[in-house]
């Protein structure tokens, strides 16, 4: 990602209310082409709600956003063609095999007929699932399901990939393998919008992170700048200080 990279995601005053609850509160930020942008925050901070608005699963109450120059309110179908989304839950079809799931996704996204199988096989090899290509999705381990869900998100060669908590619930080996895959995607020039609870993961993968608390963005910066500014050694410590959770943690530790 160069300094002059173009903006591919532009968010202005994006807001989402569920009745009286303000889930996302007038957030604004930009993501550059080729960047790995981390969206960090505790549970209920509004990370998933933001992704849902940006990917067309939910309508904003106020504000606007554009992705690759298309407006999320009026041109969402244009956007959907060019983004890949990996939701927090691995939601492919249990009854279909790995191959059939990928081919079905390729059909929905309009991948040309002659390229579908080849693309699916390529992704199954990359994600080390080729040997299980004919096994139903329901027979897969959690890590394998996660990997196939990411593969499904990449079937149409998206320019931007939204990853919502990609490593949640995975064992150490599977999570590490997945992080390597994300790192490889970044080297291929895909812009990645990542939400995660794991700050070490964000520190390793992200060019910049936004810290979100109670629907509001507190800060956006590079992990190293955040550590320097807060005078902390790790992103986790910096996060605690920025979000005001540090005193609570210290109190818990003193109680020990």
């Amino acid at each position: 990602m160069g300094k002059n990279s173009k903006t591919v995601i532009k968010v202005e005053n994006l807001t989402k209310r569920y009745g009286k609850i303000l889930a996302v509160d007038h957030i604004s930020f930009e993501v550059k082409e080729g960047e790995v942008f981390g969206f960090l925050g505790p549970n209920g901070a509004g990370k998933t709600t933001t992704i849902r608005m940006l990917t067309g699963l939910s309508r904003p109450t106020e504000g606007n956003a554009s992705i690759l120059g298309f407006d999320i309110n009026s041109q969402i179908l244009h956007i959907k063609k060019q983004i890949g989304v990996v939701p927090e839950i691995s939601n492919l079809y249990d009854e279909l095999s790995a191959m059939d799931n990928l081919i079905f996704m390729a059909q929905l996204y309009g991948v040309p007929r002659g390229e579908r199988r080849q693309r699916a096989e390529e992704l199954l090899r990359i994600f080390k699932l080729y040997e299980r290509k004919n096994s139903p999705f329901r027979t897969f381990s959690r890590g394998m399901k996660r990997a196939l869900t990411i593969a499904a998100g990449l079937i149409h060669n998206p320019k931007i990939l939204f990853l919502d908590e990609p490593t949640v619930g995975l064992d150490v080996v599977a999570a590490r393998s997945l992080r390597n895959l994300i790192s490889n995607l970044r080297h291929q020039g895909i812009t990645i919008f990542l939400t995660t609870h794991y700050l070490e993961e964000a520190d390793l993968l992200c060019d910049r992170v936004a810290i979100l608390v109670k629907g509001r963005i507190l800060v956006i910066d590079t992990p190293s700048n955040l550590k320097t500014k807060t005078d902390k050694k790790t992103l986790e410590e910096a996060f605690m200080k920025i979000t005001g959770l540090e005193p609570e943690i210290l109190a818990i530790e003193k109680g020990k």
Binding site: T55, L77, K80, P87, N91, E95, F104, Q107, L108, A152
Partner: protein, 242 residues
């Protein structure tokens, strides 16, 4: 964008055929149930069986086109696969039409089999064009009706229960077994707000040998019912994702 939607509708219907329509709920409601009824009526009174054919075809249309709706919509909503479809470049209306089309294709297959067997065994001579003009819109009407009822509730079992009430009501009040003209007047009025009545009457006209032009009116009324069911269904499904 319409091309994306058309493609989506086609592949969603195709996937649903593979995934759901050869599974127990579809088989029991869509195939076994109408065949059991047909056999029951035949065994009871083989002499008058010809008279019952339009009603039995109508019942096959009703049950086969709605047999898997609860699963294809409510189950997918619960496990998150419907959300997966919404991430693709297809509108919510397109997704719902894909689901409806799955029911239509399955229903068309079942209805065609039942009709062909009836025509060949009982040596009937229906007007094929008129049959198509009634069967096709009816399949869309009842598949959309199933979709509408399913998006009104959350769980698969709620949808199955909710679907059964109008399905059985229509079987008894739409002239499937007992002609509408012989019912009490109040029930006759009620029968004419049920879409299945137009299917049964349209099919009777198609089999009568002298089909009249009011058959086209039945087709138009069925198209009206289709619009009446499909638009609120799309609206309700959209609301679930607001």
């Amino acid at each position: 964008m319409w091309r994306d939607n058309l493609r989506g509708i086609f592949y969603i219907a195709l996937k649903d055929m593979k995934t759901y329509y050869l599974k127990p709920p579809a088989i029991s409601w869509g195939i076994v149930f109408p065949i059991t009824w047909i056999l029951a009526f035949y065994l009871r009174n083989p002499g008058d069986f010809k008279e019952l054919i339009p009603g039995l075809i109508a019942m096959t249309i009703l049950f086969s086109s709605t047999s898997a709706e609860a699963v294809v919509i409510n189950f997918e909503l619960r496990v998150g696969t419907l959300e997966r479809l919404l991430l693709a470049p297809i509108s919510i209306g397109g997704i719902l039409l894909g689901k409806v089309l799955g029911g239509v294709i399955f229903g068309f297959f079942m209805t065609t089999v039942v009709t062909i067997i009836s025509v060949l065994v009982l040596k009937l001579n229906p007007n094929i064009l008129f049959l198509i003009l009634i069967i096709l819109p009816s399949l869309f009407v009842f598949s959309s009706f199933g979709a509408l009822l399913c998006v009104m509730v959350k769980e698969v079992f709620e949808a199955q229960t909710l679907l059964n009430l109008p399905r059985f009501l229509m079987v008894f009040l739409s002239g499937v077994v007992y002609p509408v003209s012989k019912m009490p007047v109040a029930l006759q009025y009620f029968a004419y707000i049920l879409p299945l009545t137009y299917t049964v009457e349209g099919l009777r006209k198609s089999f009568s040998g002298t089909p009249d032009r009011t058959l086209f009116l039945h087709t138009l009324i069925l198209i009206f019912f289709l619009l009446l069911f499909i638009f609120p269904a799309v609206k309700l499904l959209s609301k679930k994702f607001e």
